[in-house]
Chain length 377, copies 3
Amino acid sequence: MSASSASSSAQAFPSQQDAEMSSILEYAGQSNGHVGLNTSNRTNFYSPKPALSVGSSSDERRSRLPPSPLVTPPSGWSVHARQLEGHTDWHLDNSCDKSDQRSFSSGSKRGVPHIYHDYSNIPDAIGYVRKKTGGVTQPFPEKLHEMLEAVEEDSRRIVFWLEHGRAFLVQKPKEFTAEIMPMFFKQSKLTSFQRQLNLYGFRRITQGPDAGAYYHEMFLRGRIGLCQRMTRQKVKGTGHKQPADASSEPNFYEMPSIDPAPTLGTNTFASGALTVVPPIKSSTEPLQFNAPVIGEPQNRPSHGFVLGARNEISPGMQSVHGAAHLLQGIASGRNFALPPASTQASINASSLLPQSSGDLLANSFLPDIAPRNKEEV
Amino acid sequence: MSASSASSSAQAFPSQQDAEMSSILEYAGQSNGHVGLNTSNRTNFYSPKPALSVGSSSDERRSRLPPSPLVTPPSGWSVHARQLEGHTDWHLDNSCDKSDQRSFSSGSKRGVPHIYHDYSNIPDAIGYVRKKTGGVTQPFPEKLHEMLEAVEEDSRRIVFWLEHGRAFLVQKPKEFTAEIMPMFFKQSKLTSFQRQLNLYGFRRITQGPDAGAYYHEMFLRGRIGLCQRMTRQKVKGTGHKQPADASSEPNFYEMPSIDPAPTLGTNTFASGALTVVPPIKSSTEPLQFNAPVIGEPQNRPSHGFVLGARNEISPGMQSVHGAAHLLQGIASGRNFALPPASTQASINASSLLPQSSGDLLANSFLPDIAPRNKEEV
Amino acid sequence: MSASSASSSAQAFPSQQDAEMSSILEYAGQSNGHVGLNTSNRTNFYSPKPALSVGSSSDERRSRLPPSPLVTPPSGWSVHARQLEGHTDWHLDNSCDKSDQRSFSSGSKRGVPHIYHDYSNIPDAIGYVRKKTGGVTQPFPEKLHEMLEAVEEDSRRIVFWLEHGRAFLVQKPKEFTAEIMPMFFKQSKLTSFQRQLNLYGFRRITQGPDAGAYYHEMFLRGRIGLCQRMTRQKVKGTGHKQPADASSEPNFYEMPSIDPAPTLGTNTFASGALTVVPPIKSSTEPLQFNAPVIGEPQNRPSHGFVLGARNEISPGMQSVHGAAHLLQGIASGRNFALPPASTQASINASSLLPQSSGDLLANSFLPDIAPRNKEEV
DNA sequence: GCCGTTCTAGAATATTCGATA
DNA sequence: TTATCGAATATTCTAGAACGG
């Protein structure tokens, strides 16, 4: 999309969009391990570029200029800024090649290490909204985001945000396909769901504790507003390939975690039992409930801050959270053909039970780790 | 695939391979109905032809020379022979164009009707065996064949040969993935299984009683030896496309059926309810199960001999069957903007009726016909 | 599509395809009234053309040669043949300009009078079929056709073939949207259904007894095979606009009616308990039944032969008729994942109730006639 | 090098929404 | 107003590609 922007002259960039670039951190994975990042809320340098050449032929993509980073990142990661404006994303320095760009909207190219930008501290799309001329009213990313919030509690064993809030995992593909997916999508096949993920540039983690999870830089827990920036792949051939370098996949556990409540910049969140969700400027208002938590995700490895935080969340807090979202979905007028009472019951029933070992191991989204135990079909 | 044949002059056809062509019948689908064939074991004339246009540009394909068949088939079908030699198949007359060739190993090209050759009466690969230089010891087709024989009885409700022995059907994808597949393959995903089928040129039937089943000319019940002739797709772009003409899909019920026991020519087979699993020549020991057969596939139409077994379906059953068709969407719990309570009521009522939920949902290999009821994920 | 073929040299056309051109009658509407045609099974002149230039750029289409009709039609209509071969339809005379061609596959252009070709006597698509490489297995036209057969009896008050078998009508949009549509489509909106109709070139009748009905030359009762020839609109801008000249809409009541039983092919099917539908090759003879009529469509005007015939159909007969189609579907081997008997019951129950006059008049697909009573949603 | 597994892309149809004539 | 059309997204099936054995 903005492939050729690297070679375009630079000036005349509107400065009123600085607010959007308050702090975007780029994490460039290392092949030998995961990238670590211990800080956040960091505002980076950037230099505006003109919107000239957005032509993105694949030929242009292959002939890259040598990288010349404007900002030298700390060891293990690099950081630079980019401008988010309309349908175009800008590269402000050359260290970020086109495959990088593509990872922004469509993923990265084969053999290119993962590069992850932390957009958790930029505001929701300002000055840009996805075109709504055709298609559905609520695009896939938003719908997916709502789904993850709606099932926050009851179906956590099936699909859920990972603790760090930067990726989500379908833990039980069969149940997901049978129970969750029909409520939000017209799909009947998991592959269709995956196709949508690919079309929107989600990438799959193949290693580590999050293996099988999908992530997207703009897909963060509580930040549904960022979804507006996720663009669907349009032309053929511009899509991304699965990253060849799995070892460079981002390690979200070394990044600041995303607050389950919609936040905009504050990454510190009170994780106490009855935490008050901080005021949110986005449209989704958090609901407060009192119900107890039923099941914690038990087969995710603990890690750092988020994990600790989560451990302290009271059951009541959690379940309230989930139920609230469900209500929210209902209140928002979504019209789900609810599976008959039986289904509903089964969901609740199952989610109330302790997970059987079989269920725990069942994870078809984790082929690398437990290939024999996966439920996926 | 047979690309090089295109440039070869037309003569010099090896005669020592005549034995292989003892009787290959070609069934070309008609659109107004299925092609009938009442005879078998028919040896045909053939005369070698140069493989002029194997260049597979779409242009060449459209501008075809008028067919000049050497053999005039009975009405409804045409027949001609081809040479089976290694990885190459030859067209011996012009009525069978290149796309036909591709259908042999890799499917057919756009707009070309299905053409099915009856290889049931040719011996197992003579003079050709698949190269074994690398790869696994037992390639996919053989393994699949073994699987189908191994599960001949106990798991017939899950996966089984169709009565005619020319195609197989995965009736219950979930069970198949969970129970059967792990015993024979390392796959954990049904899509991987399907990918293999595609790689080896299997084609899917989209209409009629066998909808959802896969077939390959060289994949016949009891003829595991023929599997040696099935070659894996090697170069990109030569693969097959899904047949465009669903109505020209072969009607196996009008061809001689393939005996469940490894035979070479006798096509009568007893299809009784308690068929004994035939002896298995393969290395993998057949699995013995104790569970009773739960359900015969009841929505397969009867035909010919097998029909007897299925004739026990009551007419009432049948009509229900037809009417069922109407409900197909509802039962699956699809999420449509529900009409008010009345509709809801009727839906619930219907969905509560006797069908076992598992059986109802189990048919994900039939997306076109019962898209709502599939188990596939 | 085959616009430029008119100027291509002609020779070497295979004569074995004459069968396809047995009788295609073209009805060109007159502005002052409807076109009448009392004959059928008429074989027309045609002159073979080479398959050379199928190039179908829109530019070519605009530069038309002056018409030079080969056949002078009787007053009120013109007739000529075209060749249906592969993906190409041929114009054998120039009297049929581009808009006509488009009407074949995509409807007619705005302001251009309706031209209707009677394809009821040509065989199903031979040698050509829709590409199926991507997308769904069963395209919209076929699915729609199945729907109309499936609801033949029980939901006739909601949606049904018109008596002549050349058009269908959604009589009760609300019920259609709520009850019928979800069974066959994933749509939730009637407009989506209409969009599909438009995409496949259906046209709406705005005047006369069939006002509100949609028709397509290739969409005839009992001739699902012809649906293969219906192509989906691919490129933008080639579609048709609503005909400006409503008075030139075809009058199907002056054309031979399409037999409810499948014609042109094997049409003999044992319908179980009662009637054996006679094998019919031609489209002209209406079935005669002996039972009394139960529910006539009451706001349809009577007309000619077909209507009379229908009046003689008994209620029992009607249901048998409907059941026959259901059985036919079964006999044809369709494999539907069965919904329970309950569905059948509910449908029958509703369809057996006496229609309220309000319901009868409610027809949102008939804006011109009863715009105030429409149920449309 | 061949084969098996997996992830992702291509391609076609389907569905929806808004615009337009 | 109404039906149709452009355009965007959605769903499905199949193929490409990488990697490991």
